[in-house]
Amino acid sequence: MSVLPYLVAVWVFLAGCYGLATSRNLIHAVGCLTVCQAATYVLLIAVGYRDGATAPVYSDIEPASRPVVDPVVQALALTDVVVGATVTALLLALVLQISKRHGTVDPDELSELRG
């Protein structure tokens, strides 16, 4: 159990890379990129977890009464989630333009930019 979350993060990251490399559709490729990013959230939150602790929100618990998990990684993960969504949006906008200009979204059929 003590390494399972980390291994899951590594698995998700590499799976996303595999999907990205073998994708036959650019929209699918962008989806795979979001899978890669999901790995970073899992790793972040897993690193900040503490056994038996509660969420770092003191609106219903007395300060210093119980241990809390690391709030810093949660703040970083929040940032990361928003960054991920915006990058996805921008890349999808580019995919739409590719579909208009090249008439395809299959990376195997994009024949420009070689050599």
Partner: protein
């Protein structure tokens, strides 16, 4: 101002505020006002950066939000205001200003009711680069790394009606985002081990933890993967020619002139602050990794640079080749090498941006950037020809250009074996640029023959659309003044008395703090600079007189085929590169 360090965050805040206000008011503003405002904000930031550079000895530190450390630790974000960081911020700001001035009334069709969007994107790019340059906190560095990347994708794809532009921008976006996520994984691994995010703190905690293990190596590999993707080191480099060849010319000036160099700067910063101690990556391992990758990058970049006929793509590969030289320069881990690379980067930025600016003029006058199609067509542009030629000689490292001084100092630090590589690479890249200049501007030699065997693996430069409103009758003064000023700046880096000393001093003060030397032109350096220039001229002359291309060119086929334009290939290479990086840095970890 009593506390100039409080002004450090303004390097980010001022351009960002300018950008947001431009977008808010952009719907009503006429185009000229929006562009002037963009230039003014960019210039103000550049002024602030230069002011701060002058204050940067001894280096400043700023804790954003006034979270100054108590008992040596803080919960805030640290910014570093030392010579190299602020120098990169100043370089980024000045180049943004140059690009904005160059693009005055540039695009033919600003998006309807969004006159301010292009200058606003440029300001956001400037803010992102400044933020990355002064970041002293790893996660904060990641955030600004993403900011500059995101803006760069949008700017690269700006001409959405061009099939190549959108494809290049997507490739750029996917590869760089993947690199950034790898970097973030590395940062999280470091956080898990040390519980800190400020670079200096992480380094200290690693050193307390004893000799490095596989975890440190994995974090190192992941973080460097992100930075080396940005720095376009082989085999992470594939996105660069695809993106730089298709971006609008003013954006190319920024991408090649400073954004890619920020990858090298980041490598230098992260290694120096995080991994250079006894708990980090041993020096011989880093040297092996950076010198091997740097040499590969330099050779691949130079060879492919020579093979191109699309002029922007040719310049992009020359950037790849020079990135290899910069990586070698910081990889030898000597203060003289770092100082030399700093000067080399400054000179290279001026020269490369000027060359792109000249190519932009060609594109606008003739609607093509193809070396073969333009053969002899630009004879009338005498002034541009002179600038282009001067840029090519600067690229070769002709004294007294700043590139020449930087190259000479770096060669001295790198030793004789690598000096051969430096001379060869600058010869080949400058030779290719001179070849283009001789054919396009002077019409020398026979018109090159088309070789059908290359056809599927070649990107020609024809079929590009001019970027300006209508094909230009006369080149606007701003479009020629900007490259002239940039070349003058590159020259000033080499000749201004004492400038090299100041740069070297601030780099060694920020880095290891090792013995600081007074760099100057040495007879050997001048001789090597002249040698590469003469060789480049010779090589160009040889190429121009051969209709079919030089004999050895057939050998480059397999290398060119690797550059397939396929995102899947590039992702596969990225993983392979990360594994290679791990293998190169492994021996010291196993032994230790």
């Amino acid at each position: 101002m009593d506390h100039p360090n409080h002004l450090l965050p303004l390097l980010v805040a001022v351009p960002l505020l300018g950008a947001t206000l431009l977008v808010a008011g952009g719907r009503r503003l006429p185009r000229a006002v929006a562009e002037t405002a963009g230039c003014a904000v960019s210039a103000a930031t550049a002024g602030l950066a230069i002011f701060l550079v002058l204050q940067s000895s001894p280096p400043m530190v700023e804790w954003v939000g006034d979270w100054v450390p108590r008992d040596g630790v803080s919960v805030g974000i640290m910014l570093i205001g030392d010579g190299p960081g602020l120098g990169m911020a100043a370089l980024a700001s000045l180049l943004t200003l140059a690009a904005l001035a160059y693009s005055w009334h540039y695009f033919d069709e600003p998006p309807r009711r969004h006159a301010g969007s292009f200058p606003a994107l440029m300001l956001l790019f400037q803010g992102g680069m400044c933020g990355f340059a002064i970041a002293g906190d790893l996660f904060n560095a990641f955030v600004f790394f993403e900011l500059m990347s995101v803006v760069a994708y949008a700017l690269t794809g700006h001409r959405v009606e061009e099939a190549r532009a959108v494809q290049g921008a997507l490739t750029f976006g996917v590869v760089n985002s993947l690199g950034a996520y790898a970097m973030l994984m590395g940062i999280v691994l470091l956080y898990a081990r040390t519980g800190e995010l400020a670079m200096a703190q992480i380094g200290r905690r690693l050193d307390e933890g004893g000799p490095p293990d596989a975890l440190v190596l994995a974090a190192f590999v992941l973080v460097l993967t992100g930075l080396l993707v940005k720095a376009a080191a082989v085999p992470f480099h594939f996105w660069l020619p695809d993106a730089h060849a298709v971006a609008p010319t003013p954006v190319c000036m920024l991408l090649s002139g400073v954004m890619v160099e920020l990858g090298v700067y980041g490598t230098w910063r992260v290694y120096g602050d995080v991994f250079s101690g006894p708990g980090g990556i041993p020096a011989p391992d880093l040297e092996r990794a950076l010198i091997v990758l740097g040499a590969l990058t330099a050779v691949v970049g130079a060879v492919l640079c020579w093979c191109q006929r699309h002029i922007k793509r040719l310049l992009a590969y020359s950037t790849v080749a020079h990135m290899g030289l910069f990586l070698i320069g910081i990889g030898v881990l000597k203060p003289e090498g770092d100082g030399g690379v700093a000067l080399y980067i400054l000179g290279h930025a001026g020269v490369k941006a000027a060359l792109f600016a000249c190519t932009g003029i060609l594109l606008d006058r003739y609607g093509s950037v193809d070396e073969h199609a333009l053969h002899g067509r630009a004879r009338k542009l005498r002034g541009v020809a002179a600038l282009f030629g001067a840029g090519a000689l600067g690229l070769a490292g002709l004294p007294p250009f700043g590139t020449g001084l930087g190259k000479a100092l770096t060669e001295e630090a790198a030793g004789p074996a690598l000096t051969v590589l430096f001379v060869a690479v600058s010869t080949v890249t400058a030779g290719a640029v001179l070849r283009v200049g001789a054919r396009v501007f002077l019409g020398l030699g026979p018109k090159p023959e088309e070789d059908p065997s290359y056809e599927p693996y070649e990107t020609t430069g024809s079929g590009e659309r001019p970027e300006t409103r209508r094909r230009l009758k006369r080149v606007p003064d701003t479009m020629t003044a900007v490259p002239a000023l940039l070349l003058a700046a590159a020259l000033a880096v080499g000749v201004a008395p004492g400038f090299a000393t100041v740069v070297d001093h601030s780099v060694s003060e920020a880095g290891s703090g090792g013995a600081f030397t007074s760099p100057h032109w040495t007879p050997a350096g001048v001789l090597l600079g002249l040698t590469s220039t003469l060789l480049a001229v010779g090589l160009a002359a040889l190429a121009v007189t051969h209709r079919k291309g030089l004999p050895g060119e057939a050998w480059t086929g397999p290398l060119r085929r690797l550059q397939s334009g396929h995102i899947g290939d590039y992702v596969a290479w990225l993983l392979a590169g990360a594994a290679l990086l791990g293998a190169l840095a492994l021996p010291g970890i196993v032994a230790g």
